[in-house]
Symmetry: C2
Subunit: 124 residues, 2 copies
DNA sequence: CGTCACAGTATCCGAACGGGTACTACGTGA
DNA sequence: TCACGTAGTACCCGTTCGGATACTGTGACG
């Protein structure tokens, strides 16, 4: 587990468990990474980068490492050249699937509503 | 809508709608604020502070303002002394209820599992 | 010998965020 | 006259985060 995740679990009372979810899922690209792995099963580092919007290797690496430390993804290194590294969901990562879907659904509705209705909704 | 929320909606492709949810819900205390407002209906600034773990007024104010700008909470000021300000959920804020619950549930399970099983789970 | 593919690492930067302390407005009541 | 209560605001600080750029290791290929 990441130090940050551990700190959040320790310092927030149990009434704030949602903070834990956000600590784990709330990094750039993380929900997308989880969705893609849920969809494709196994993906290599480069494939993930291409399926996302080409984040810098620095950023993608960090997100994947954090997800790995938090136990959501499994990283498999094949000792060969050129390097080959595969990522897939752990059981814990799979358990987050419905939550990521819920985030996606609500976020999509919210975005659509805001795009359409900023100050325009005739509510009376 | 906050500038940040707007930027997230603009800059992330629709496949990453979950980022929008996290942009809106992902601030210190925000899920807790929404839960409390869902439970109590209406709460004053000071009541919220006491029900949470007494965040500084600075922090609580900012979270509430952001939630207000993002359209999740409604702020009502009563012109009287000493001041009285009430917060309640908007319809949009209520629509986030199930999502916050899902975050809380998964986060709680995750935290419990990590507290119990860090390196201890006998899986074989 | 140089180049390519792949999966990173090293270093740096600016913005954003949480949080701490001090201060404010204003009518009431001792 | 002074403190009280409420709901903040102003100012500052340290950390974290996303991101840009440059560099690395290594075997195969030409």
């Amino acid at each position: 587990m990441r130090e940050k995740t551990e700190r959040v679990i320790r310092e927030w009372t149990e009434s704030c468990d949602a903070e834990v979810s956000i600590a784990v899922l709330g990094g750039a690209w993380k929900p997308s990474i989880l969705s893609l792995l849920a969809e494709h099963g196994v993906l290599r580092f480069g494939e993930l980068g291409r399926l996302l919007d080409n984040p810098t290797a620095r950023v993608l690496t960090r997100q994947l490492r954090e997800l790995e430390q938090d136990g959501l993804v499994v990283r498999t290194v094949y000792q060969q050249v050129p390097p080959k590294v595969e990522y897939r969901l752990s059981e814990l990562g799979e358990s987050a699937g419905p939550l990521v879907e819920a985030l996606t659904r609500w976020g999509g509705q919210y975005a659509a509503q805001q795009r359409a209705g900023v100050g325009a909704a005739p509510s009376g």
